[in-house]
């Protein structure tokens, strides 16, 4: 968005990175930008841990016999893969790194409303991480990331408690981040920055924050109850003691289905920024894209029962959850069509962030459409808990959320570090990722319909060909993740210095130097226009 500044920005030599040095200046920082980098380091570590377990899983599944690992080991591997990737990577990835860095800057604020709480939420995240890592080292946990009772509460004799405590603690970090964003977006917008002048990235984070503060406490209490049941042998979920194991599933999915939207909505916000910037056009249908984020957040709370179509819940409940799930298709379709329409008559430049954005749109489309199968009562009876589900949610989480995260990381990398990354390598890795991803996860749709159940350590021989394809794809995918890790780290030192606005983007964050000074804005900016104004020519009517 174009802004009227009371004075041109002064190029300062000091920025948030070089203002102070030493480990203490980082660990005690209250600067949202430094906290974002603390998160970046932490989630990259947890992503690597989660990735390591993914490698183990794919290696085991190359052969039908469970010959590489003991079943116990395999069960722990897929549990740790899920726990690490979902709770410690996907949920915080975009909000805690890009959101933390950008939300204040995009609305013209000097920091988030509560900088100390922001730092606190990073520490809470780390404490949660330490507990979970302890659980991993002390023998691991084998309940699956879903912790279904009564297996988790009574039968599993692995480190359920330590993991549960870790995830419980981690939840507060997520709640506090959401709280901080909501207050910041409500109260700290620059003069003139009305709600409908907000960048879509902000709308997406607002919707995400609402889910975080409303959903996370419910899963927290469910985990507390599992912990109490395990510790004191009291019967809340164990039917032997009069409890109801299905109630846990209700409480769990009441959070964990909206949690899917915690993972995907921020990435959708990123995509709106990328598509507009690299086609130099206003977003097509701003209001619809903004409101569809809110609609997804609201609907997300009403569909949890579609995880339980075969759990024995009433067929009528299943019917209601099925139709509500189908309604989510509408805001999702609105987003995809509007992004595509934004490209129409644009000036499209194929730079790395846009490649990720286009990859996102394509993969999210497939992920979303395969959701139609799983929301369908008759088909889901067959597909529930098979590899079709695994394929579907990886298309959303990896093809969607991670593509968006990487696209955003590349887009704002010059702003974050003040350096440019090597464009050629970056484009190559985006391509490798796209190919590797599809090869890994597309065969899983077929495997699922053929009937291969998920979480199987050994499987019948007729499923081998597709599993080998998937494992081969995973090795390509791994290369696609390692390349950016190398060149991004390399560029921090050797990359070409980045100008304030390397992409010619609108948006307040591009009006200040790269990297930004600690207080972001010398003077509070005044916003006079809508976002994404690349041209002052009169808008065309279609």
């Amino acid at each position: 968005m174009s802004t009227v500044l009371t004075a041109p920005p002064v190029e300062t030599k000091t920025n948030y990175l070089n203002e102070s040095y030493g480990i203490k200046s980082w660990l005690l920082t209250k600067d949202h930008k430094r906290i974002a980098l603390l998160y970046l380091a932490a989630i990259t570590f947890f992503f690597a841990v989660g990735g390591f377990f993914a490698v183990l899983i794919r290696l085991e599944l190359i052969t039908p016999a469970g010959d590489l690992m003991q079943p116990e080991t395999y069960n722990k591997a897929f549990t740790m893969h899920g726990v690490m990737m979902i709770f410690f990577f996907l949920i915080p990835a975009v909000p805690a790194v890009l959101g933390n860095f950008l939300v204040p800057m995009m609305i013209g604020a000097r920091d988030l409303a509560f900088p100390r709480i922001n730092l606190l939420s990073w520490y809470i995240y780390m404490v949660g991480g330490v507990f979970t890592l302890y659980a991993m080292v002390a023998g691991g946990v084998d309940t699956g990331w879903t912790f279904y009772t009564p297996y988790s509460s009574t039968y599993s004799n692995t480190q359920v408690m330590a993991t549960a405590i870790g995830i419980f603690i981690l939840g507060f970090s997520s709640i506090l981040t959401g709280l901080n964003f909501i207050v910041t977006i409500h109260k700290m917008r620059a003069p003139g920055l009305t709600w409908f002048r907000l960048p879509l990235f902000i709308w997406a984070h607002y919707a995400t924050s609402v889910i975080q503060i409303l959903g996370t406490p419910v899963v927290a209490i469910a985990i507390v109850l599992v912990g109490l049941e395990r510790a004191f042998r009291i019967g809340i979920f164990d039917p032997k003691l009069g409890g109801d194991p299905i109630l846990f599933q209700h409480l769990f999915w009441f959070y964990s289905h909206p949690a899917v939207y915690i993972m995907i909505l921020p990435s959708m916000g990123v995509i709106s920024e990328l598509v507009t910037c690299f086609s130099r056009k206003k977003i097509f249908g701003y209001g619809f894209v903004a409101m569809s984020s809110v609609a997804i957040a609201v609907l997300g709370f009403l569909v949890w029962g579609h995880h339980m179509f075969v759990s024995g819940q009433s067929v009528y409940a299943g019917m209601v959850f099925s139709i509500l799930s189908y309604l989510v298709a509408i805001p999702s379709a609105i987003k995809v069509f509007n992004w595509t329409a934004t490209l129409y008559r644009g000036s499209i430049s194929y730079q790395t962030p846009l490649l990720y954005a286009l990859g996102f749109i394509g993969l999210f489309t497939i992920g979303g459409l395969t959701g139609l199968f799983l929301a369908n009562l008759a088909v889901d009876v067959h597909l529930h808990d098979t590899y079709f589900v695994v394929g579907h949610f990886h298309y959303i989480m990896v093809g969607g959320a991670i593509m968006g995260y990487l696209g955003g990381l590349h887009f704002w990398w010059p702003k974050i570090t003040g350096r440019l990354y090597p464009e050629g390598w970056a484009r190559l890795s985006a391509l490798v990722l796209f190919v590797g991803f599809n090869l890994t996860f597309f065969p899983q749709f077929i495997l699922g319909y053929l009937g291969m159940p998920r979480r199987y350590h050994a499987y019948p021989e007729e499923f081998q060909v597709l599993n080998v394809m998937s494992s081969a794809g995973a090795s390509i995918l791994a290369v696609g993740y390692i390349i950016p890790m190398i060149y991004l780290i390399w560029s921090m030192r050797y990359g070409k210095p980045a100008p304030a606005n390397p992409w010619g983007a609108t948006g307040l964050e591009w009006q200040i130097p790269s990297p930004p000074p600690s207080y972001n804005f010398e003077k509070t900016p005044v916003v006079t226009e809508e976002p994404y104004v690349y041209s002052h020519e009169e808008a065309q009517v279609v």
């Binding site: 079943p71 069960n75 699956g144 279904y148 009564p150 009574t154 039968y155 599993s156 039917p239 109801d244 086609s279 130099r280 056009k281 206003k282 097509f284 249908g285 701003y286 209001g287 619809f288 759990s311 067929v315 189908y326 298709a329 509408i330 609105i334 069509f337 595509t340 329409a341 490209l343 129409y344 008559r345 644009g346 000036s347 499209i348 194929y350 286009l358 394509g362 489309t365 497939i366 459409l369 395969t370 139609l372 199968f373 369908n376 009562l377 008759a378 009876v381 808990d385 319909y449 053929l450 009937g451 159940p453 998920r454 979480r455 350590h457 050994a458 690349y534 041209s535 065309q540 009517v541």
Partner: protein, 316 residues
């Protein structure tokens, strides 16, 4: 089937309808995927940046288009929902003449018992062409009974009964999986379903050592536990008459009415004080922890064998 099948075998009456629905969904998905990919591809080529300073004319949006692409997917979604729900409901209730089998899940095996009393582990023999209803429970954690070739799956939940049914259409040997993660040997909790010609099935039944039927075993247990001293066969004793109780509507002391299904009988045996029939006192001892899941199923089979009819139990 080719060497590279895309579908599991269709071996039940519902497989065909589920597969048709599946292909409809595949067609919709392919259509929209191709549409989006093609649009992106065409736009990306056609509107590529030709000059570095090129600024396209802005387009605000279009209410007509927005409505078009909200309503169209909306209609498609509702239509697919309706289609799926119809298929699901058409197949949700088992036919009245279904033969009943009993399944007990246990880490990590499936224990199956035929009404005639035959027991199987990780194997299920059924005759082709006859509807089969499974009454299922588990001794420990949640499992899920899954036969891909029949397109059926149902979770098996401790402390309650779930049911599913199917009617095999094709003789053969099909996979049986546990689909809900249940612990260490989850991936070995699988077996085979053998669909046989009715004659072969009869031979198979008679070829096995004859054991007493489930109802007979239940009757023996009924007597051993001394149930008949209160639940007398002829006239109401200290407990209600059980003949014909299954499937009937029972009036409780609280005035509530419940249908006496498997879950009700189970609860009344394990925790008799939970739902007291109107006119009776809380005398029956609890059998919680004293009966195995299989014994419970035998007792229920016995009570069922006493007849099922519609009636209102009004007490003594």
């Amino acid at each position: 089937m080719t060497d590279f099948p895309l579908l599991p075998e269709q071996a039940s009456t519902i497989a065909q309808s589920v597969d048709t629905l599946y292909w409809v969904l595949v067609a919709i998905s392919v259509f929209f995927t191709v549409l989006i990919f093609a649009l992106i591809f065409v736009f990306a080529i056609r509107y590529r940046r030709r000059r570095p300073d090129e600024i396209p004319r802005p387009i605000l949006g279009s209410l007509r288009l927005e409505l078009f692409w909200s309503i169209t997917p909306g209609i498609i979604a509702i239509a697919v929902f309706a289609y799926g729900t119809v298929v699901y409901f058409r197949n949700s209730a088992p036919p009245a003449d279904a033969m009943e089998m009993f399944v007990v899940g246990k880490q990590w095996m499936w224990k199956i018992q035929h009404p005639e009393g035959h027991r199987e582990i990780n194997e299920l023999h059924v005759p082709v062409g006859r509807p089969v209803k499974l009454v299922m429970t588990t001794e420990d954690v949640i499992h899920s009974f899954y036969i891909p070739a029949f397109r059926v799956k149902m979770d098996v939940v401790p402390g309650r009964y779930t049911t599913m049914w199917f009617q095999p259409t094709k003789v053969g040997k099909y996979h049986l999986f546990c689909a809900e993660y249940c612990g260490t040997e989850h991936s070995r909790m699988k077996g085979w379903v053998y669909v046989m010609e009715p004659v072969d099935y009869e031979n198979w039944l008679s070829g096995k050592a004859t054991t007493e039927t489930m109802a007979a075993a239940g009757e023996r247990l009924f007597q051993k536990l001394g149930c008949q001293s209160c639940h007398r066969a002829d006239a109401p004793g200290r407990g209600p008459v059980l003949a014909g109780v299954f499937g009937s509507t029972v009036v409780l002391a609280t005035g509530e009415k419940v249908v006496a299904d498997e879950s009700y009988l189970r609860e009344s045996i394990l925790r008799p004080q939970a739902k007291i029939v109107a006119g009776y006192r809380t005398l029956m001892p609890t059998f919680e922890g004293q009966l195995t899941e299989e014994q419970l199923l035998q007792l229920i089979a016995y009570i069922k064998s006493l007849g099922t009819r519609e009636r209102i139990d009004t007490g003594p």
